[in-house]
């Protein structure tokens, strides 16, 4: 049984209420941080903890926080990214739905550390009922004096509100999120400037994922050094994994980073093996954007070492033989899955979600969808696989935001590892384009 720091109390009745949450040690980090620590000391602990962003990119949180510009007389903001729209990812929802106060507590402690006086939780439109849960919890926190003016008599004041998005995946990209939060069209901004310098309303801003912010609570409580002992190497702490697909026990699991992938898939504590006694064909380990890996490469690295659930191990071998931990959206496919069909589904998603600013992403995502559709429908042309490969290559790295890459990588990896499945779908009589 691995260590749990975030959702250990998820099954406790009434844990969504402030009263029960407090009975289980809730809001202790606010007491500790606001009464006994300086903001700098908290940032220092987060740095020591080695915590890395849980939104997908895995950027060290302490470093991100220390980049925040602090010009005199200018507001600073903390914005929580609860847009969670990556196919295969639903861990933030679970956390917010079950233990909303864990996020609110993290927001208060983190806002204090960053010197923010107004903070926002930007949540995806489809999670409107979760937004209600959060709003109710925020009201409770205000009533209990954890939010609002002069929190716990410390002189620190903070306002926190929830903003509901309108259901666009792109609004999870941090600068598109800020545009949307400002009431504008959710188009990603061209960087630099980065949000740490000019973010919300042009002010220095930190954008962090729900799970990242919730992890600040145990870090403040146990100290950065203790937290860093959990996990493996530079993958410290615990991670929420959304497990889905052809497994016996789909759901959200908190794992200690470094858990072997094989154990995660086959142990009854987690996924419980492949459903219907079938064999596994492939895994998308970190949400739809990361490269898909066939069974042999997800269980073992190309070097033959057991693959672990960690940032480093999952990316071992680069894209040729590895993938990424990403947002922790772990999708398992059984032996009967059609990889081209799965790819077509992903293509449709990225085509639908491209904001349309960059020509390669705007045009390329739709083109890839059309070609993949023709292949899975059985009237692909002899040159279509190479065409798909070429289109994704022309999108990758040539766009404003990483959605372009996210649309390209699944295509590249599906062809790299499962080219034979595409070839089998192309009629023998097919002509070249």
């Amino acid at each position: 049984m691995g260590k749990k720091l975030l959702i250990q109390n998820d099954k406790v009745g009434g844990i969504h209420t402030l009263e029960v949450y407090k009975q289980h040690g809730g809001y202790a980090s606010v007491e500790k941080a606001l009464k006994t620590m300086t903001p700098e000391a908290i940032v220092e602990e987060v740095k020591k903890s080695g915590l890395r962003g849980r939104g997908g990119a895995g950027f060290p949180t302490g470093m991100k926080w220390s980049f925040l510009a602090k010009p005199e007389g200018v507001a600073r903001y903390l914005v929580c990214n609860a847009d969670e729209s990556e196919p295969g990812t639903f861990k933030d929802r679970y956390l917010m739905e079950k233990i909303p106060h864990a996020l609110i507590e993290g927001m208060i402690t983190s806002s204090f550390a960053l010197g923010a006086k107004t903070s926002y939780i930007y949540i995806r439109g489809e999670y409107f009922y979760v937004a209600r849960i959060l709003e109710t919890a925020i009201e409770e926190a205000y009533a209990a004096g954890y939010l609002g003016k002069n929190i716990l008599g410390t002189g620190y004041s903070l306002d926190l509100s929830v903003q509901v998005g309108a259901g666009a995946y792109i609004c999870g990209e941090e600068t598109a999120l800020l545009e949307s939060l400002e009431g504008k069209r959710g188009n990603p901004r061209i960087k630099p400037p980065f949000p740490a310098i000019a973010g919300l309303y042009g002010c220095p801003t930190v954008v962090n994922n729900v799970e990242t912010i919730a992890a600040v609570v145990p870090i403040v409580m146990m100290g950065g050094d203790e937290y860093a002992k959990i996990g493996i190497g530079k993958s410290t702490g615990t991670k929420l994994i959304s497990a889905s697909g052809h497994i016996n026990n789909p759901g959200v699991y908190e794992i200690e980073l470094g858990l072997p992938v094989e154990e995660f898939i086959y142990s009854n504590e987690y996924c419980g093996g492949i459903w219907k006694n079938k064999k596994m064909k492939a895994v998308v380990a970190g949400g739809s954007s990361v490269p898909i890996l066939p069974t042999e490469l997800i269980l073992k690295t190309a070097k033959g070492e057991p693959r672990l659930m960690s940032y480093e191990s999952l990316s071992d071998g680069g894209f040729a033989t590895g993938s990424m931990l990403g947002s922790g959206g772990f999708i398992v496919y059984d032996e009967d899955t059609s990889i081209p069909m799965n790819l077509y589904t992903f293509n449709r998603f990225y085509h639908h979600e491209s904001c349309g600013q960059c020509s390669p992403c705007r045009e390329g995502t739709g083109w890839m969808e059309k070609v993949a559709h023709r292949i899975v429908e059985g009237h692909g042309k002899a040159t279509d696989i190479d065409l798909l490969w070429d289109i994704q290559k022309r999108i990758e790295g040539n766009t404003i935001c990483p959605l372009g890459d996210a649309a390209a990588w699944p295509v590249a990896s599906a062809i790299r590892h499962f080219r034979h499945e595409f070839e089998a779908l192309i009629p023998k009589t097919a002509v070249a384009h």
Partner: protein, 315 residues
């Protein structure tokens, strides 16, 4: 100041200059082509990816190359930076890909498009495109729309460069022009068909690099290369009154702002000058406008008349 070398040519430019501006300072083929960048529009550029270049050396301090090709219009130079444009086969190939994306859904209706001859996309396709598209699906189509009584929007031709959106944003007040929808069904819109009723709205025609926004008063009047561009001015209370007249015989067929050698407006002009003064007598003529841009509009003008070349007949 920063010293930057582009395709082997070195130039010194103030800190904060973009690679594109440095390349333009060198001039000629070294300057990457652009579609969505416009020097007079803040925050323009970065979208179309036409001006991508390779940074083979980051700076003297940090000589590492940049890992990806960058949009030269939005990347600032560093001292000692080395950049490759045409000398990098990777850039040339990637640009060809961008042109393919831009033309994929374009109707290629140049024969009936008023922009033909001064169209940046036409020039770009001619210089950097492939000979054949690999896109063999139905192209997306939109209905033609009027934006006010003087401007027509052919969304089919639009490449979503956002230049008109930025123009509406930055030089007209009471903005009601933007982008609706998302991805490849995005469209330029006046937000629920509201006409742009503004003294400077006509500049959106000038900034459109393709034939998506055209001047209805000039519609189908003439191919641009049959008209003579003349610089002219008049006293105007609203703008500088400095324009280019496009004449055929003694008739003024069209009035536009003056554009620099990159096809970008030198100044904005008002709708009064653009649409309401179509008589030669309205204007003080300064002389022929030299069109620098490497395009068909620079042909056929007496400024650049090529000496006819006759082959001697063998006796």
């Amino acid at each position: 100041m920063a010293k930057v070398t582009i395709d082997g040519h070195t130039v010194e430019v103030p800190d904060g200059t973009t690679i594109l501006q440095a390349a333009r300072a060198i001039g000629g083929e070294v300057a990457p082509p652009t579609m969505c960048y416009h020097s007079k529009l803040k925050t323009s550029g970065g979208y179309c990816r036409t001006c991508i270049v390779k940074v083979s050396k980051g700076s003297d301090k940090d000589p590492r190359p940049m890992p990806k090709l960058v949009a030269s219009c939005r990347t600032t130079v560093m001292d000692g930076m080395e950049v490759q444009n045409l000398t990098s086969p990777e850039v040339v190939d990637a640009r060809k890909g961008v042109v393919e994306f831009l033309l994929m859904n374009h109707p290629l209706d140049c024969p009936i498009c008023d922009q033909a001859g001064e169209c940046h996309l036409q020039d770009l396709g001619y210089q950097n495109g492939g000979e054949k598209t690999r896109f063999d699906f139905e192209r997306r189509t939109f209905e033609r729309k009027d934006i006010g009584d003087k401007i027509q929007l052919h969304m089919n031709r639009c490449i979503l460069c956002y230049r008109c959106v930025k123009t509406a944003d930055q030089i007209t007040d009471g903005r009601c022009h933007g982008v609706m929808n998302r991805g490849d069904v995005s469209e330029i819109s006046t937000y629920i068909e509201k006409a742009i009723d503004n003294d400077f709205s006509g500049n959106m025609i000038d900034v459109c690099p393709v034939g998506a926004l055209t001047d209805k008063t000039f519609r189908f009047k003439s191919r641009v290369w049959f008209t003579k561009p003349m610089d002219a001015h008049r006293d105007c209370k609203k703008c500088s009154g400095k324009v280019t007249l496009w004449e055929k015989g003694d008739e003024v067929l069209r009035v536009t702002g003056r554009k620099d050698q990159w096809g970008e407006n030198e100044e904005w002009i008002c709708n009064d000058c653009r649409f309401e003064h179509k008589k030669t007598s309205d204007w003080t003529i300064e002389g022929p406008r030299n069109i620098d841009r490497h395009s068909v509009i620079s042909q056929n003008h007496y400024m650049k008349l090529a000496t006819p070349h006759f082959k001697k007949l063998d006796k």
